[in-house]
């Protein structure tokens, strides 16, 4: 049997080594979600890696930093069914994502270092709660949905809005719960007590939410746009409203009136019988 020479083997070994190492390093980067919409330019920077332009359908990994420029925005869908919209001129780090549907102790933590994000919760936020860290406060999201961002519109600091569920805000000196949807706070100082929550005006909220959507002429990275009639084609029904309150309260009320009337009638019948006993009754 003829053995190949060292000069022939070495390049093959080096090549094999390189190809085996590269997938191993990618494999250790845990995939936590997918880029499900993106307007350029948006970059993702995995831990230990270089910045890459985010594209539709691309995996997002644990500890990845997502950054957008003045035109960029993106949506990431996570495996726990939560979604994260990252607005323009923003930077968000996926600090922590532990999700095993079959067990407890799941956790999710994001850091917003600048810009705007909108988070719509999934299984982790519903069961264990999710955390959003910012320079001025840490936001605990229980259930629902929040919009967080800086960028003016009457708030000189960071606007934190509760869209659905309960938010628990903490900074170095204070804790605040925002329990009502539509309420928010403008936070400027991590070392000052939180101001009282206020009902966020629609135009202010709109500005922040628009920031984390597509702008004019942007289509989130798709060429084949969804059209409105798809809703009908795929059977999305127009929801009908539930009637206000319990529609059968009227039965309860009528039953409530029947009791005294029946008692009265039975009492009358008893009385007639008693009167008959004092004299003749003719049937």
């Amino acid at each position: 049997m003829n053995m190949p020479s060292t000069s022939k083997i070495l390049p093959v070994l080096i090549g094999a080594l390189l190809t085996s190492v590269a997938p191993a390093s990618l494999a250790t980067a845990q995939t936590v979600g997918t880029v499900t919409a993106v307007n350029q330019t948006a970059h993702g920077t995995p831990p230990g890696g270089g910045a890459r332009v985010l594209t539709l359908g691309q995996d997002v990994v644990f500890k990845e930093t997502i950054q957008t420029n003045a035109e960029g925005s993106t949506q990431v869908a996570f495996t726990d069914r939560s979604t994260l919209n990252v607005g323009r001129n923003s930077s968000v780090i996926i600090d922590e994502f532990v999700f095993d549907p079959g067990s407890g102790g799941n956790s999710m933590s994001l850091t917003l270092t600048k810009g705007v994000l909108r988070f719509v919760g999934g299984q982790i936020s519903h069961i264990d709660g999710a955390t959003i860290k910012t320079p001025v406060a840490t936001i605990g999201v229980r259930g629902g949905s929040t919009t967080v961002g800086s960028g003016g519109g009457g708030c000189a600091g960071l606007l934190i809005v509760n869209n659905v569920g309960t938010l628990t805000l903490k900074n170095n000196v204070d804790t605040l719960k925002i329990t009502q949807p539509g309420y928010g706070v403008c936070v400027t100082d991590p070392n000052a007590p939180f101001p009282p929550p206020f009902l966020v005006p629609d135009d202010l909220l709109q500005a922040y939410m628009d920031n984390a959507d597509s702008g004019d002429g942007q289509h989130g990275g798709v060429n084949d746009l969804p059209l409105d009639d798809l809703a009908d084609r795929f059977g999305l029904e127009f929801p009908t409203l539930d009637p206000d309150g319990n529609p059968f309260d009227f039965i309860t009320i009528i039953q409530g009136g029947n009791g005294p009337a029946q008692e009265q009638s039975q009492g009358d019948q008893q009385q007639e019988e008693e009167l008959c006993e004092g004299g003749p009754c003719y049937y």
Binding site: A77, G121, G122, S145, F234, Q271
Partner: protein
């Protein structure tokens, strides 16, 4: 025997009740169908993660998520479609309705406004959105008022509650009832009015002052001595417990007063107070235990042998609402009350249990904006007095058990007007023949909501 002859044998009545309750509980457990749907949702999510522009998967995912009442998952997917194309009024309408269901009315309003601003909007969608808008605006107002009115006709097979046996026990002697007096079946015209007002307060309007008033009037066609006039009012603050880590829970102390007059007389008035806790157990179950005390005053001057006298009544109740889907809910109620009067024969213990279903379904026309509801129910109650009433039966303390079953229909035609109807059958068995009777009734009429 008057009325329907159908009766629930005493021996199986509790079994029937427990069977009903058991069925309801079983519905609450994850069924194979539900598990399959969750598996389908997960499979669709994986499809979307692999191919975000797979619109069939996205829309199916939205439908499945809504069916699972996982509204946030549906919102996330629909907002993605808006990332691709902002000109999707049907999608915006759906998102608005989902935020509405999540009681996020400000976001619902935002999306509805965008839909209404769409040029050339489909008139059907416009009608639907316009039906939502006043409700959203009402919810966003710190002062909210609801009014419900209904009137109609009601037929009872035994409006006078005349005993099945046609016999009356008096001073321990059984004699035939005086059938020459008006009795038996009768029609009436009825009117019901309900008024509800909430005034939100607190730094986030998280608390409410709730006022509830209801009134009920009947005009019998024949048995005018049984005309009913009844009013009831409760008022009290409802404090949200969300800030204390119990989202969706609230506690409400309240004052209550009522007055009832039969045939123009004034047999009873009550006044008192109570406290109730509303506590969600998970996403689909709301449990409401309550305790209530009232002082009841009975004007018995027109009766020689009243069953009730002035008394203190303590009532403990537990209500549970289980929402299996947007279109199917089960309401369970159980209560115990103790009435203590001066006379032992007017003091009593009472128990009641009820199971009621609410089956919501689409109205027959696209132009109708509100669901119709069918509501079958079954109720059991019993009352046992402490001592015999010598004027009735000196040797027997009265004990009644009552079964009632029925079904109601609520059919809104538009946001304000509609129709309702109901059928009920009740059967009371008593150890004293005076109080054993059957009665069935049918009622129907128009409704108005504002």
């Amino acid at each position: 025997m008057r009325g329907c002859d159908v009766r629930f044998p005493k021996r199986i009545s509790f079994r029937v009740l427990f069977a009903c309750l058991g069925t309801a509980v079983l519905f609450g457990l994850p069924t194979g169908a539900q598990a399959a749907t969750k598996a389908e949702q997960e499979a669709l999510l994986q499809r979307i993660l692999a191919s975000p522009a797979d619109y069939e998967a996205v829309y199916t995912y939205v439908k499945v998520s809504i069916a699972l009442r996982d509204y946030e998952a549906a919102i996330g997917a629909l907002e993605r479609l808006l990332f691709f194309n902002q000109d999707l009024p049907r999608v915006k309408f759906q998102i608005g309705t989902l935020y509405y269901r999540l009681q996020s009315y400000h976001l619902a309003q935002r999306y509805f406004r965008e839909v209404l601003a769409t040029p050339g909007l489909d008139p059907v969608i416009r009608t639907r959105v316009e039906a939502y808008m006043p409700l959203v605006e009402k919810q966003l107002s710190p002062v909210r008022t609801w009014v419900y009115l209904t009137t109609g006709l009601r037929y009872q097979s035994n409006a006078s509650a005349t005993p099945d046996s046609d016999m009356i026990m008096s001073f321990g002697f059984l004699g035939p009832i005086d059938l020459s007096q008006p009795h038996g079946a009768d029609w009436n015209a009825y009117q019901i009015g309900q008024f509800a007002n909430d005034i939100a307060f607190g730094s986030q309007r998280q608390h409410k002052l709730e006022t509830r008033v209801s009134g009920y009037l009947t005009e019998q066609f024949r048995l005018s001595s049984l005309n009913v006039a009844m009013a009831n009012m409760t008022i009290g603050p409802r404090f949200s417990l969300a800030a204390h880590g119990w989202e969706g829970a609230s506690i409400k102390p309240y004052a209550i007063a009522s007055a009832t007059a039969i045939g123009g007389k004034a047999p009873s008035t009550t006044a008192g107070g109570g406290i109730e806790l509303s506590a969600p157990l998970g996403m689909n179950v709301m449990v409401t235990p309550s305790v209530e005390w009232v002082q009841a005053w009975y004007d018995t001057s027109s009766l020689l042998t009243p069953s009730y006298g002035d008394s203190n009544v303590l009532k403990a109740a537990l209500r549970t609402a289980i929402k299996f889907s947007d279109n199917f809910q089960v309401n369970l109620k159980g209560s115990y009350r103790r009435g203590v009067a001066d006379q032992p024969f007017e003091s009593y213990d009472g128990y009641a249990a009820e199971v009621a279903f609410a089956l919501r379904f689409a109205p027959p026309s696209d132009s109708m904006t509100h669901k119709w509801t069918l509501g079958p129910f079954a109720r059991f109650s019993s009352i046992a007095f402490d001592a015999p009433n010598a004027a009735v039966d000196p040797s027997t303390a009265r004990k009644d058990t009552t079964w009632a079953v029925g079904i109601g229909l609520d059919a809104p035609i538009n946001a304000h007007f509609g129709l309702n109807a109901a059928f009920t059958y009740e059967s009371t068995n008593s150890n004293i023949p005076n109080y054993s009777f059957d009665n069935w009734s049918v009622m129907f009429g128009p409704t108005a909501r504002f």
